[in-house]
Every structure is written in structure tokens, then in C-alpha cells.
């Protein structure tokens, strides 16, 4: 077992802020894990992502305690640029990462920076445009395309560099349900075909839950719950108290459980919930 990320008693406080953005975090993420990160806005999710790719403490002023290691090495110990080859981040605001005048240049930029050969760049460009469905946008300026298209281009640009650790900060916030599912399909393919460690920060749980092998909740800078996905959602009281809104099917069973009408563990996907409903109705109808 290789640990992709080890975080030990880690705290981070931005300069001139009254309290830490992250407070005494302990976390280990094994290589190949698909980790879902949830929590209210302002709970420290994005700060956690920045701490793993070295933007914190590199680009921000503040006070750091404890350690953040990526593949056994502290983030500050990596040479400039080296960590970013291992950890790729897709930001929630895709415009924040665009620099080029065409989508194609945007996708090629990162690969050129990594010193890849032209044939390799060409091959990867073909792969990511097919995977993310942005082929028809290649010649357009990134600022002229829609919000949803921007998010897919941002994802493609980071995927082209095939980082071992991929962090996506609300990657589908601007997408319609079908485009959203397409992004999660891409992530599902990465999960099954490669050994990438994938960390997804998301408010919308319906697509995340079936893919995530583990889940983590941050509240007010603290790691309040972490575990294997199914076990994680059995702590529904705690999640609801933190303002997390579970997908409809899961909430239905949670309400039934609270009123003593459902004894089992909460189903976490729609197919599971449908299957369970048949048995449940049959039992309630028995005399």
C-alpha cells in the first residue's frame, strides 16, 4: 500500500484572519483512492486542496503547523514545479486557470511546460479532447465559450498532464445534468483504467456517491467525519446537522429510519434504493 497523501496534525491560518482555515487535520489517502470531500462553503475544502498542491503555503501568506506530505515527501521539499506535475487541480472558477488565446493552446500549454515531445502532445491532445468532448472548441478563445464548456476545457487541460493526484474543486457547478454525468463518466474511466488518486470537492452528491470509495466532511476547518462511503453515510444525523443535503432516495430512507419504519443500513445509490423499496413495501403489506 502506497500513501499518496499524508496529513499530520496540520493547521493553516491565512494572514490577518481571526481563526485557522484548517485546524488540526489528520488524514491519510492511499494511492488509487477516489475521495469525495463535502462541507458547507467556508469550511476549508478549497484550502485543503491548495495545501495538497503546494499553493499553500507557496502562494499565500499565513501560519502553518504540522505536515502535508505527497508520496512521502513534504510539499515544501519539492523543487519548484515538480509537485505540480504530480498533483493537478481543476479550479471551481475555470477562468482562473486560463492563459491562452485558443482552447487548443490552453490544452497544449501545460504539456509543453512539462517538456513533452510533439508526438506525445498530439496523442494526448487527441485523447483528452475525445474524453471530455471539447474537440469542436479547439480553435475558439477560452473566454468566448460557455461556463459549462469552460469547465470541461479546464478539466481537459489538467488531464492532459495526467497527474497522479487529481483534485477537482466543484468541477460541475455550471453544468447541466447530462454534461455533469459526462464529467463523472470521465472520472469513472480514470478510476477504472488508471491508478490515479482522485479527490473531488462537490455539493451535488448524486453523481459523486456511486464513484467515491471514501468520503470526508469538513466543518469550520475541522475534519468532522471520514470513512468508507457506505459507513460514512450511516452517520446521517451528523451530516444533516452540518447542513449537508443528501440525495432524495437516501433522505427518504433516513426519514423512514428515524420514524422506525426502516431497520437496515441506508442505501446510497438509486438502484440500491429501488431494490430495497420492493422488499420494504412487501414487508409492510404482510398481515
Amino acid at each position: 500500500m502506497t500513501l499518496a497523501i499524508e496529513i499530520e496534525d496540520y493547521s493553516w491560518q491565512y494572514l490577518n484572519t481571526p481563526k485557522p482555515a484548517l485546524n488540526h487535520i489528520n488524514l491519510q489517502v492511499e494511492e488509487g483512492t477516489f475521495l469525495g470531500v463535502i462541507g458547507p462553503n467556508g469550511s476549508g475544502k478549497t484550502s485543503l486542496a491548495y495545501s495538497i498542491d503546494g499553493l499553500i503555503p507557496g502562494q499565500y501568506n499565513g501560519i502553518k503547523h504540522g505536515q502535508v506530505k505527497v508520496f512521502g515527501k513534504e510539499v515544501e521539499a519539492y523543487d519548484r514545479g515538480q509537485l505540480q506535475r504530480i498533483v493537478g487541480v481543476v479550479f471551481s472558477d475555470p477562468e482562473a486557470q486560463f492563459t491562452a488565446m485558443t482552447v487548443e493552446d490552453e490544452l497544449v500549454f501545460g504539456m509543453e511546460n512539462l517538456g513533452m515531445s510533439i508526438p506525445e502532445i498530439r496523442e494526448r491532445l487527441e485523447w483528452v479532447t475525445e474524453l471530455t468532448g471539447v474537440g469542436h472548441l479547439l480553435l475558439k478563445p477560452p473566454y468566448e465559450i460557455s461556463g459549462g464548456q469552460k469547465q470541461r476545457v479546464a478539466l481537459a487541460a489538467v488531464l492532459a498532464m495526467t497527474p497522479q493526484v487529481l483534485i477537482l474543486d466543484e468541477p460541475t457547478s455550471m453544468l447541466d445534468p447530462v454534461s455533469r454525468r459526462r464529467v463523472f463518466d470521465v472520472l469513472a474511466r480514470l478510476k477504472s483504467e488508471q491508478r490515479n488518486t482522485i479527490i473531488v470537492i462537490e455539493h451535488s452528491l448524486e453523481n459523486l456517491v456511486p464513484l467515491a470509495s471514501r468520503m470526508l466532511m469538513l466543518s469550520d476547518g475541522e475534519l468532522t467525519l471520514e470513512g468508507e462511503t457506505r459507513e460514512f453515510f450511516q452517520n446521517m444525523d451528523l451530516l444533516v446537522a452540518q447542513g449537508i443535503h443528501p440525495p432524495g432516495a437516501m433522505r427518504f430512507y433516513y426519514e423512514l429510519k428515524k420514524s422506525g419504519q426502516y431497520p437496515g443500513s441506508l442505501p446510497i445509490t438509486l438502484p440500491e434504493a429501488s431494490q430495497e423499496l420492493k422488499g420494504l413495501v412487501a414487508r409492510t403489506r404482510q398481515p
Binding site: 458547507p40 462553503n41 447541466d176 447542513g243 423512514l256 413495501v281
Partner: protein, 277 residues
Amino acid sequence: MTDNQSFIQVKNLFFTYPDGTKALEEINLSVTVGEFIALIGQNGSGKTTLSKCLNGLYKPTSGNVIVDGLNSRTTPIVQMVRRVGYVFQNPDHQLFNNNCWDEIAYGPRNIQLSEEEVKIRVEEATQVVGLPQIYFEEHPFFLSKGLRQRVAIASILALRPQVIIVDEPTTGQDARQSFEIMDFLKDLNEQHGHTIMIITHDMPIVAQYARRVIAMGQGKILADGPTGEVFAHPEVLERTFLEPPQITQLAQGAMELGFQPGTLTVEEMLRQFEALH
């Protein structure tokens, strides 16, 4: 719905962008005062273009948009925006003044109201959106996204439009913030009599708040009706590349057990479950 009751009448509307992109084709619809409508559809289906036709920002390529008896082709935009307000998806695309007060006062000043009237409008709008006085002198960019959205809505409210269109009100908001914003829009609808139209991809939000759904695809209206009815026909929704909320899908997969295909909320699902006993 008869013609003389409707506040907005869209008749055979076509809109083509200058570069030749056909964004809207053969749109017919009418909106009555007091409705709460969700406009849904895939990215690029024409939702935002339609909204901008409704507030007169875009003039029809052919067909007509009649608002409160005024034809958008011949009515100055200042008259249109007093009737239909449009709140941008990203409040940062709309906020440009140095403090919140001036931001909200910009619209009323722009339609040349007296400073006295401007003050009344701004105070009223800030009160409705619940923007505390301590923020009046603050630069909008130092506010949280939720508060910036409130400033954006207040700046539209200050024009006192009958219809308020809000583009993606819950994008990037967590669950608690989303419900807060939606409850606020519900309050504008029920307590203040505003007609609300939201543009959103969030189907559970649509199911919980909207009474009517207009589903668009490739520039056309593919479905238009009461929320439960539109969601009860997944085959129509499929053409718009949307799917009903998860709880509706759970009910639709269990129709043979007695669940209704138009189930919209967890609460409705629970009531049906109780009734099975």
C-alpha cells in the same frame, strides 16, 4: 390561460445571433402575474437568450414579445427593464460600483428617478433582500457570494419589475445557502406578488419550488406545464437531456407498488409510503 390575463406574451419568436447561430425557434408562451416558473434545459439550449428577449435586451429576429401590453421591438429598454428584471448567473458580471448602495441605486438613477425616489427604492430593496445597513458602504467584492447575490437581486428589485428572472440562483452555493436563496425568492413570489422565473440545472430545487416548468432544447420549447406533470414524463425530459430528481425516479421505478410518477419531494414520497399501510 387567456390572452388578456397574461403579463408576458411571446408569439412565434425566432432569434438568430449576428454570426448566424439560431438560438431560438418558434417560441410561443405566456406568463401570468404570480407564477413561479423554472426554465430548464441543457447548456446552450437557449434559456439565457430567451430571458434576454423577455427583458428587451435582445430584439426578436422575427415574432413578437409583448410585456404588459408593450412590444419589445418598439419599447425603449428603460421601459422594459422596469417590468422584467434579469439577475445574472454570476453576480460579479453585474456588480461594478464601489459600494453596495451605489450599486443598488444605479438602476433607479439610470431611469432618471429623483434622488429622493432613488433613496426610497434602495431602502425598500435592501429591506426586502435583508441586506444589513453595515454593508451599504462596503465594496460588493468584499461580501460573500450569497450576499453579493442579494445585492445583485436588490439592484434589480430597485427597478420594481413585476417579473424577476434569476439565472442559476444556486450555482456554487451549499445546500443551506441554496435553500436560503430559494426561500427568499418564494417570499418575493408569495408575499410581494412578484412573478419569478428561475433558470437552473438543479432538479430537486425545481421540484420543490417551481409550480410550472418550461423545458427547452435546441432553441425550442419541448415541454411546458405543471412541474409534476412535466417530471412525470421522463421520455419528454430525455429529449431535453435532463432527468427528474432522484426521488421522482425512485417513485417512477416503483409505480407497480402504487407510487405516483409525478412525485416531487421526499415528503410526498413518505406520505405515499404511509398510505400503503
